[in-house]
């Protein structure tokens, strides 16, 4: 039984909504059909608040908060789609496209890519920033999967699903800043790593960075929504 304190009422984009105490702004927004763009967030994994696409404005504060982490409070007024937020979202997406070599036309995830879809949703028609053109490797040593670092956006979903769900923690991030890279084990080839070959990382990867060798081109949709069910089943056990 919940007492009165456990239910909060708040306003998201002029819509009055109610929420349970401890819920994030993102959860409440999605329950009410309000779309907030996300990239690093994935239901079923811990939230890191790294991509900054889900930043929202809270009335009375100049600070922008990540909706995936910030929890609701009574009478808060949230704006999720202001001109200020749209400007930052476009710039963030541009930063991602310019950071590595995302050539959509020749990507296995063309048409099923979260980054590509977000770019379209946010009205991006070109990248104003200079492309950085880094020279990055493609590791196809694994018998089933490939990692193409050119398309990695460092959302760390693979790292989290491997550590938190599969419990293997084969993936992590090496280096820092602009030189960060996801790695398996001691920066060894994926194929000879301690990978359990479960393939969860491939399913949760939002872009074409991790893909299944057996699939080509447009036949490569991913199904990251298995996670909430998996967690539910595990809890039930």
């Amino acid at each position: 039984m919940s007492n009165g304190d456990d239910v909060k009422t708040l306003i998201i984009d002029d819509q009055e909504v109610s929420a349970r105490r401890g819920q994030t702004i993102l959860e409440v927004a999605r329950e009410n059909g309000i779309n907030i763009p996300t990239l690093c967030h994935l239901e079923g994994l811990s939230s890191v608040g790294a991509c900054r696409l889900c930043l929202v404005e809270i009335k009375g504060s100049n600070k922008l908060l990540p909706a995936c982490i910030a929890t609701v409070f009574e009478s808060m007024e949230v704006s999720t789609d202001t001109e200020r937020l749209r400007k930052h979202r476009r710039t963030i997406l541009e930063l991602l496209f310019a950071e590595r070599n995302h050539i959509c036309s020749v990507c296995v995830s063309n048409g099923h890519c979260e980054l590509q879809t977000l770019a379209q949703e946010q009205g991006l028609t070109h990248i104003r920033l200079p492309y950085r053109n880094p020279n990055l490797p493609v590791d196809a040593s694994h018998e089933r999967f490939t990692v193409d670092h050119n398309r990695c956006i460092l959302c760390t979903r693979c790292v989290r699903v491997c550590a938190e769900i599969e419990g293997a923690h084969v993936w992590d991030v090496m280096g820092r800043g602009i030189n960060c890279m996801v790695i398996t084990d001691l920066h060894e080839e994926w194929g000879s790593s301690t990978c359990t070959r479960c393939g969860k990382c491939v399913q949760v990867c939002p872009t074409g960075a991790l893909f299944d060798k057996g699939k080509i081109g447009s036949e490569h949709p991913k199904y990251p929504d298995f996670l909430p069910y998996l967690n539910l089943m595990r809890e039930a056990r």
Binding site: V173, R176, I183, T184, D185
Partner: protein, 165 residues
């Protein structure tokens, strides 16, 4: 009863015992990773894969996490250092007083980029993020020894001495 045992020392090199000592002192806790890597680096001069693997297994830290830590912190080096190391301080005060020109001159004289070691393994050229001797800028560390108000000529002279050794 715990079935987990520590991996064997990578070799009979006595320095591994020092490394093991740091881990034992910390009860083989995962949070001792950085402390232990410091010990490895001060004992061996750098961190190689064997060392990281040994430390990671001993502390039961995932390999990728240990590698992530070792490459996150710039104080750790994954390559053996040269016989001598010249470190140019690249803090703000040194920069204002021409540290960038010192770095360029050293790179030209040694034929390497900052962060690299000459092919004969004689000299490593490093830069530091402020050693805290700003009042003596620009500052140079020759094998750890601080020299202030360094001129290009003085630095080259020191490099010459090392390269003809």
């Amino acid at each position: 009863m715990s079935a987990l045992t520590s991996p064997p020392l990578p070799s009979d090199d006595k320095r591994w015992k020092i490394v093991n000592g740091t881990m034992r002192k910390n009860g083989y806790a995962r949070h001792a990773l950085i402390e232990t890597l410091h010990t490895v680096q001060s004992s061996f001069g750098y961190l190689d894969d064997d060392a990281i693997r040994f430390v990671a297994r001993s502390l039961r830290v995932p390999l990728s996490q240990a590698y992530g830590v070792a490459t996150f912190y710039h104080y750790f080096s994954l390559k053996p250092p040269g016989k001598h190391t010249v470190t140019v301080c690249a803090g703000t005060a040194c920069y204002i007083k021409g540290a960038d020109k010192l770095i360029a001159a050293a790179e030209k004289r040694l034929g390497i980029q900052q962060g690299q070691t000459t092919s004969d393994g004689q000299v490593s050229l490093m830069t530091a993020r402020c050693v805290g001797a700003c009042s003596r800028a620009p500052v140079l560390l020759c094998d750890g020894e601080v020299s202030g108000e360094m001129s290009r000529e003085q630095m080259i002279e020191q490099l010459e001495r090392w390269t003809v050794e």
